[in-house]
C-alpha cells in the first residue's frame, strides 16, 4: 500500500480553456452543412403499360451530396413509384400519348374524391340491424370434402351432393349467427377456390346470391346485401385474377390496359366458359349477381364487352319484381360499373330512370301486404332504400354537369312522396349544389307527406350539406330559423339529437356565440327530460367537438352561457373525461398566448379537475400520462404576468387539485423554479426583502412537494435542480437542505428501476446523477456550523455504504470523479461561481487547514481505489483491472501534480499495472505516451518528459 501525500496540480483555468478551445473557423454558409435540407429536384415519370410511353426516372440533388436513401433505391423510391402508378393525375401528366388517350385514361379511373363503397359498408351494417330470427339455406361446408374423398366418390357426385343432399335450412338464427354463417360461406368459397374446386366455388356464390332474393326480415336486407356482395366481390376478383394469370406467359406480364388481342386462346376459352356457365343459371337473381360480379372479365374477350354487358344487365333487373331487391341489384351494378368502367355513365342514368319507373311499386299491394305481414312501418321501410339510392345517385353525380343534376332533381320532384328521393339527392349530390338551393330544399321538405319518409332525416341530410358548403349569404339566417323551427318540434329525443348534432355545425360556422348559445340551450331543454342525454352521448360529444372546432378563442367559448351547463349533461364518467380531453386538446392546440382570464381559468380548472378525479387505481399508465400531458399543457399556459404572488398561489392551488398525477406535480415544481428564476431576473439578482421572502416561499413549495413523489430519480434530480435554483437566489440554508436531502436519499436508490415498463439496472443513472451533483457541490459553500466539506464527506460515506454491484466498477468511477472534485476545490479560484454566492475558495482563501483536510480526503479516496484495484487481481478480472488502472493514471495525469515524487511513482506503478497482464490496448498506450511527450513541451510541464522516460511500452508478444 502506498501512503503518500497527494498534491493537486495548480490549474489556470483561463489559459487552459483558451489553449483547449478549437480554432475558430469562420463559417462559409455557401458550404455544405449536414443539417441543411437537401433540395431534390426530381423529374419523375413512370413507364406505363407495354406501350412504353415515357422516359426514365432521375433524381438529382442540388447539393453535392447524394441522398443516401435515394441512391440505395436506385433513384426512385418504391412509394412514389406506386403513387405514380396509382395517381391518375401523375399518369396523365406523364402520358406523352395523344390527348385523346389521355382523356380516356382520366375517365377510366375514379379519383379519390369519389367516396368509395368501402366507406359506406360499415355505416350500413351498423344502421340496419334486427333482433328478429333469420334463416339461411346453406350447404355443409368445409368438413365434408375430406370425408367424401375417403368414400371415393367421384367429383361429380360430390357436386350433386352439394346441390341437393347436404343443403338444409337453418332457422332461428340471430343476426350474429347469420353473419357468421355468411362469413363461413365466404371462407369456404376461398377454400374451394384454393383447392381448385372451381365449380364448387361457383355453387357457393350462386347460393349466396340466392339469399338476396329473400326479403323476410326486411329491415336486415341492406346489411345482408353488404355481406353478400362482399363475397361476390371476392369471387369476381378470384376469377379475374385466375384468368389474368393464364394470360401471363413466362416472359410477359399483361399490363393493366391490355387489349383482348393480347389474351391467349386458353384464357379466352376459360373466360368464355365462365360466362356460359353463368348464363345457364336458372334463377334470375343469382344469374344477375354472378354475372355482374365478373363483369370485369369481359375485358379478356372484347373491347366492347363491358359496354354491351352493362345495358343488358341493367335491363335484366327489370325482371326483379320486388322493388327493394331490384334497387339493391341496381346499386350493385352501379358499384361494379363504377369500378370497372366509370366512363360508361349512360348505364348509371338508365338504372336510375328505370328505378323511377318502378317507384310506384312501393305503394303497390304486393309490397304493402308484405309489410303488414312483417309488421314494418312505411317510414322505416322507406329508409331501407336510402343506401341503395344514395349510392346510385352518388355514382351519377360524380363529376356530372350541373344540368344533369338539375334534371335528376326535376324528375324526382314529379313523383309522389318524393321525400325518399329528395333525401338521396341531398346525400349524393355535391354539397355546393345543394347549398345554393337550400331554401328550395327546405320548401320541398315542408311539402312532403308526413306519413312517408321521416322528415328529421331530410333535415339531417340538408344539414350535412350545409356543414360542407355555404348557402348564399342572404339566406343563411332564414335557413337556420326555418330548419330549427322544425327540429325543435321533434318529439323523439333520438330523432331530435341526430338532427341537432348536424345543424350545430352550420350554426357555429356562420353565426356568433349568441345563436350557438340558443341552440345549445335548446339541446339542453330537449335532452334533459327523462335523462334522454344518457342515450345520446356520442351525438352530444360530437356537438362539443364541433363547437370547439369553431371557437378557438376560449374566452368567447366560455362566455357562451350554456356551454358549461351543456357539459353537465355528460354524467357518465368515462364520457365526461373524453369530452374534457377534447376540450383540453383544443385549448393546447389553439391557445397562443398565456392567459390569466378568470373565466377561462375557472372553467378549465374545473375541466382538469374532472379529468384528474377520474384517475383511480385501475387507470392505465398511458391514460394517466395522457391526462397529465393535457393538464401540464394548461398549467404552462397560465400566466399572471408580473403578479408573481398570484402565480405562486395558483400553483399552490393546482398542487392540491392534481395531487394524484405525479407528472403534474413535477411540472409544478419546474414551474415554481422557473418563477423563482424569473423573480431573480426581474430583480437583476438583487433581491429586496420582499422578493427574498417570496423566493424562499417558492423554494419551500418545492421542498415540501418533492417528497410526495415516488420516482426516486425524479426526486433526486428535482432536489438537485431546486437546490441549484435556491443557491442562485442566495437561499443558502435552503440549498443546503436540498443537497442534504438528496444525499440522504441516495442509499434508497434500488438496484433495479422500472423504465418504460422494463426493469433496468440503476447504477448508470446513479453515476450520472452523482457526477452532476459533484459539479454543483464545488460551489456550495460549507455550512458554518458543520465541519469542512461536510456534504462531500457525507456523500462519500453514503457511497461507501451503498451496496454496489459485485461485478461493476462504478463505485471506483465515482471515486475518481470525487478526486476530480477535490482537485478542483484545491484551486485558488474555482472554475465557476454563482453570482453573489461566496464559494469555498473565497471563504477559506486557500487556508492551509482546508487544503490539509482536502488532501486527507484525497488520500482516503485513493486508498479505496487502490484497494479495489488490488482486489481485481484475480484472473477473470484482469482486464477490468487494466482498464481501471489506466483510467486512474489518466486522472492523475490530468489533475495531479506529478512533480510530487510519490504521485509520480504511483502513476508509474499504475502504468505498469495497466500493462502487466497484457490486457492493455497497445494503441491506447502509445497514444497516451505521445500525449505525455507533447504535453511536456508546454511551459512548466517539463517534468513530464522525465515521467515519459519511466513509462515503458510493453512490446507485443
Amino acid at each position: 500500500i502506498h501512503v503518500f501525500n497527494r498534491h493537486s496540480r495548480q490549474r489556470n483555468y483561463k489559459t487552459e480553456f483558451e489553449s483547449c478551445r478549437p480554432e475558430i473557423v469562420p463559417l462559409d454558409f455557401g458550404d455544405y452543412h449536414p443539417l441543411k435540407p437537401i433540395t431534390v429536384i426530381e423529374s419523375k415519370t413512370k413507364k406505363m403499360g407495354r406501350k412504353g410511353s415515357t422516359s426514365s426516372t432521375s433524381s438529382s440533388s442540388s447539393s453535392s451530396m447524394v441522398d443516401p436513401l435515394s441512391s440505395v433505391l436506385d433513384g426512385t423510391d418504391p412509394l412514389s413509384m406506386f403513387a405514380a402508378i396509382a395517381d391518375p393525375v401523375t399518369t396523365t401528366v406523364n402520358m406523352d400519348g395523344s390527348r385523346k388517350k389521355r382523356d380516356r385514361d382520366d375517365n377510366s379511373l375514379v379519383g379519390t374524391d369519389f367516396e368509395p363503397w368501402s366507406s359506406k359498408r360499415g355505416d350500413i351494417l351498423a344502421r340496419y340491424t334486427t333482433t328478429e330470427k333469420l334463416s339461411i339455406v346453406s350447404c355443409k361446408t368445409t368438413t365434408s370434402t375430406s370425408a367424401m374423398s375417403e368414400k371415393v366418390r367421384t367429383r361429380l357426385e360430390e357436386l350433386d351432393d352439394l346441390e341437393e343432399g347436404s343443403q338444409r335450412e337453418l332457422l332461428n338464427l340471430t343476426q350474429q349467427d347469420y353473419m357468421n354463417r355468411i362469413e363461413e360461406l365466404n371462407q369456404s368459397l376461398k377454400d374451394a377456390w384454393a383447392s381448385d374446386q372451381k365449380v364448387k366455388a361457383l355453387k357457393i356464390v350462386i347460393q349466396c346470391s340466392k339469399l338476396l332474393s329473400d326479403t323476410s326480415v326486411i329491415q336486415f336486407y341492406p346489411s345482408k346485401f353488404v355481406l353478400i356482395t362482399d363475397i361476390l366481390d371476392t369471387f369476381g376478383k378470384l376469377v379475374y385474377e385466375r384468368i389474368l394469370s393464364m394470360c401471363m406467359d413466362n416472359r410477359s406480364i399483361l399490363s393493366d390496359h391490355f387489349s383482348p388481342e393480347n389474351v391467349n386462346d386458353t384464357a379466352k376459352e376459360t373466360c368464355l366458359n365462365w360466362f356460359f356457365k353463368i348464363a345457364s343459371i336458372r334463377e334470375l337473381i343469382p344469374r344477375f349477381y354472378v354475372e355482374a360480379a365478373i363483369l370485369n372479365c369481359n375485358k379478356f374477350l372484347s373491347k366492347t364487352g363491358i359496354s354491351e354487358c352493362l345495358p343488358r344487365l341493367t335491363c335484366m333487373i327489370r325482371g326483379i319484381g320486388d322493388p327493394l331487391v331490384s334497387v339493391y341489384a341496381r346499386a350493385y351494378l352501379c358499384r361494379v360499373g363504377m369500378e370497372v368502367a366509370p366512363h360508361l355513365k349512360e348505364s348509371l342514368n338508365k338504372n336510375f330512370f328505370d328505378f323511377l319507373l318502378t317507384f310506384k311499386q312501393i305503394h303497390g299491394d304486393t309490397v304493402q301486404n308484405q309489410l303488414v305481414v312483417q309488421g314494418v312501418e312505411i317510414p322505416l321501410y322507406l329508409t331501407l332504400y336510402s343506401p341503395a339510392i344514395d349510392w346510385i345517385l352518388q355514382c351519377i353525380a360524380y363529376h356530372a354537369p350541373e344540368v344533369l343534376l338539375t334534371e335528376m332533381m326535376e324528375r324526382c320532384k314529379k313523383l309522389g312522396n318524393n321525400a325518399l328521393l329528395l333525401n338521396s339527392v341531398m346525400s349524393a349530390f355535391r354539397a355546393e349544389f345543394i347549398a345554393t338551393r337550400a331554401m328550395d330544399f327546405i320548401g320541398m321538405i315542408k311539402e312532403c307527406d308526413e306519413s312517408g319518409f321521416p322528415k328529421h332525416l331530410l333535415f339531417r341530410s340538408l344539414g350535412l350539406n350545409l356543414a360542407l358548403a355555404d348557402p348564399p349569404e342572404s339566406d343563411r339566417l332564414q335557413i337556420l330559423n326555418e330548419a330549427w323551427k322544425v327540429i325543435t318540434k321533434l318529439k323523439n329525443p333520438q330523432d331530435y339529437i341526430n338532427c341537432a348534432e348536424v345543424w350545430v355545425e352550420y350554426t357555429c360556422r356562420h353565426f356568433t356565440k349568441r345563436e350557438v348559445n340558443t341552440v345549445l340551450a335548446d339541446v339542453i331543454k330537449h335532452m334533459t327530460p327523462d335523462r334522454a342525454f344518457e342515450d345520446a352521448y356520442p351525438q352530444l360529444h360530437s356537438i362539443i367537438k364541433k363547437v370547439i372546432a369553431y371557437f378557438h378563442d376560449f374566452s368567447i367559448l366560455f362566455s357562451v352561457e350554456k356551454f358549461l351547463p351543456f357539459l353537465d349533461m355528460f354524467q357518465k364518467e368515462n364520457v365526461r373525461v373524453e369530452v374534457c380531453k377534447c376540450i383540453m386538446e383544443a385549448f393546447i392546440k389553439h391557445q397562443q398566448e398565456p392567459t390569466k382570464d378568470p373565466v377561462i381559468l375557472n372553467a378549465l380548472l374545473h375541466v382538469c379537475k374532472t379529468m384528474h378525479d377520474s384517475v383511480n387505481a385501475l387507470t392505465l399508465e398511458d391514460e394517466k400520462r395522457m391526462l397529465a400531458v393535457l393538464i401540464n399543457g394548461f398549467i404552462k399556459m397560465v400566466s399572471f404576468g408580473r403578479d408573481f404572488e398570484q402565480q405562486l398561489s395558483f400553483y399552490v392551488e393546482t398542487r392540491s387539485m392534481f395531487c394524484n398525477l405525479e407528472p403534474v406535480l413535477v411540472q409544478l415544481i419546474h414551474s415554481v423554479n422557473k418563477l423563482t428564476m424569473e423573480t431573480r431576473r426581474v430583480m437583476k439578482g438583487n433581491h429586496s426583502r420582499k422578493t427574498a421572502a417570496f423566493v424562499r416561499a417558492c423554494v419551500a413549495f418545492c421542498f415540501i412537494t418533492i417528497p410526495s413523489l415516488t420516482g426516486i430519480f425524479t426526486r433526486l434530480n428535482l432536489y438537485l435542480h431546486s437546490g441549484q435554483v435556491a443557491l442562485a437566489n442566495q437561499c443558502l440554508s435552503q440549498a443546503d437542505a436540498f443537497f442534504r436531502a438528496a444525499v440522504s436519499l441516495v442509499p434508497e436508490v434500488p438496484k433495479m428501476i422500472n423504465i418504460d415498463g422494463k426493469m433496468r439496472p440503476s447504477e448508470s443513472f446513479l453515476l450520472e446523477f452523482l457526477s452532476n451533483l459533484f459539479s454543483t457541490l464545488l460551489i456550495v459553500p460549507d455550512h458554518p456550523e458543520q465541519g469542512v466539506l461536510f456534504l462531500v464527506r457525507g456523500l462519500l460515506n453514503v457511497i461507501q455504504d451503498y451496496t454496489w454491484e459485485d461485478n461493476s466498477d462504478d463505485k471506483i468511477r465515482i471515486y475518481t470523479n470525487v478526486l476530480h472534485l477535490l482537485s478542483a476545490m484545491n484551486q485558488e479560484t474555482y472554475l465557476y461561481h454563482v453570482d453573489k454566492v461566496d464559494s469555498n475558495d473565497s471563504l477559506y482563501g486557500g487556508d492551509s487547514k482546508f487544503l490539509a483536510e482536502n488532501n486527507k480526503l484525497c488520500e482516503t479516496v485513493i486508498t479505496q481505489i487502490l484497494e479495489h484495484l488490488k482486489a481485481l487481481g484475480k484472473d477473470e478480472t484482469l482486464k477490468r483491472q487494466s482498464v481501471l488502472a489506466l483510467s486512474f493514471f489518466n486522472s492523475i495525469l490530468a489533475h495531479g501534480d506529478l512533480r510530487n515524487n510519490k504521485l509520480n511513482q504511483l502513476s508509474v506503478n499504475l502504468w505498469n499495472l495497466a500493462q502487466r497482464h497484457g490486457c492493455a490496448d497497445t494503441r491506447t498506450m502509445v497514444k497516451t505516451l505521445e500525449y505525455i511527450k507533447k504535453r511536456s513541451k508546454q511551459p512548466e510541464m517539463s517534468h513530464l518528459s522525465e515521467l515519459a522516460l519511466r513509462l515503458p511500452l510493453q512490446t507485443r508478444t
Binding site: 332474393s213 391467349n264 386462346d265 386458353t266 379466352k268 376459352e269 368464355l272 356460359f276 348464363a279 345457364s280 336458372r282 334463377e283 334470375l284 337473381i285 344469374r287 343488358r312 335491363c315 335484366m316 327489370r318 325482371g319 326483379i320 319484381g321 320486388d322 322493388p323 331487391v325 328505370d354 319507373l357 318502378t358 310506384k360 311499386q361 303497390g364 299491394d365 304486393t366
Partner: protein, 247 residues
C-alpha cells in the same frame, strides 16, 4: 409418378368442323429416360344407344350422346404399365351457307288466347304482350326479345324461358318422339312492374344444342316455352318453335 402423358390439341376450344385436320402434340414429361414400344393414337366417335322405353326393339340415340374422343397409348414393357390419356373434342357440322333471315314473332297472351283451359271463368284476367326478335336463331347468338306485363289481376310469381329439344325417330312402323327440357331460364322473379318491358334473353347451351336437323327418319328440333306462373299457381305457357342454324 415419373412419367406423364398429355395430349395438347392446338385449338383451345377443341371445336372442329368436318373435313378439318385435328392437330396438336403429345407431350411426354419425365425426369428419367423413358423406354417404350410405340405410341398409339386412336380416334373414336361413339354414339350411345339405348333401348327405347316406348317401342320394343327400337334403339334411340340422342344428340348429347354423340361423343368424339382422342386416345393416346404409350406401350411399355411388361414391368411397367401402359400409359393412356384420353382427350375429348367437339365436332360441329359445317356452317350453313347463306344468311338466316330474321323472323320476328309478336305475341299477346290473354285468358282468351289460351288452349287446354278447364275453367276459363276462374282464370284471373291478364294481358301479356311481347315479341321474339327472331325464331330463326343462329346457335351462337342468344335468343332475344321482350315481354311486357300490361295488366294482371293476380300477382306474378315467376316468368321463365324453357328451351325444349324434340327428337323424333321414325320409320314405317311409327315414330318415337322425345321432348327434353334442356335449359330453363328465369327472366322475371316476383311481381314485376306493369307496362315495363322485361328482356327475353337466353344463350343456347353449347353442349345440348345443335342446328335443327330434319331427315326422313330422324329429326332434332327445338322449341321455346314462355312460362308464366301466377301467384295463385296458375301456369300459363306459350310455345314457339325455333329453327337453329350455324353460320
Amino acid at each position: 409418378m415419373g412419367t406423364v402423358l398429355d395430349i395438347k390439341i392446338k385449338r383451345a376450344n377443341k371445336v372442329y368442323y368436318a373435313g378439318e385436320v385435328l392437330s396438336g402434340v403429345v407431350v411426354i414429361s419425365s425426369k428419367d429416360p423413358v423406354q417404350h414400344q410405340g405410341i398409339l393414337l386412336t380416334m373414336e366417335g361413339l354414339v350411345n344407344l339405348q333401348l327405347s322405353a316406348k317401342s320394343v326393339g327400337m334403339f334411340e340415340a340422342f344428340c348429347n350422346s354423340v361423343k368424339y374422343t382422342l386416345r393416346c397409348d404409350l406401350r411399355r414393357s411388361l414391368l411397367a404399365k401402359d400409359l393412356t390419356k384420353i382427350c375429348e373434342f367437339i365436332i360441329h357440322s359445317t356452317p350453313q351457307k347463306g344468311k338466316s333471315t330474321p323472323s320476328p314473332v309478336d305475341f299477346t297472351i290473354t285468358p282468351e288466347t289460351l288452349q287446354n283451359v278447364k275453367e276459363r271463368a276462374s282464370l284471373p284476367k291478364f294481358l301479356i304482350r311481347g315479341h321474339l326478335n327472331s325464331t330463326n336463331c343462329v346457335i351462337t347468338q342468344p335468343l332475344t326479345g321482350e315481354l311486357v306485363v300490361e295488366y294482371s289481376e293476380a300477382a306474378i310469381k315467376n316468368i321463365e324461358l324453357q328451351l325444349v329439344r324434340v327428337e323424333t325417330c321414325g320409320c314405317a312402323e311409327g315414330y318415337a318422339r322425345d321432348a327434353t327440357e334442356i335449359q330453363n331460364i328465369q327472366i322475371a322473379d316476383g311481381d314485376v312492374c306493369r307496362s315495363l318491358s322485361v328482356p327475353i334473353y337466353m344463350i343456347f347451351p353449347r353442349l345440348f344444342t345443335c342446328p335443327t336437323l330434319e331427315t326422313t327418319n330422324f329429326k332434332v328440333e327445338f322449341e321455346v316455352n314462355i312460362v308464366v306462373l301466377l301467384h295463385d299457381d296458375h301456369l300459363i305457357t306459350e310455345n314457339f318453335p325455333l329453327k337453329l342454324c350455324r353460320i
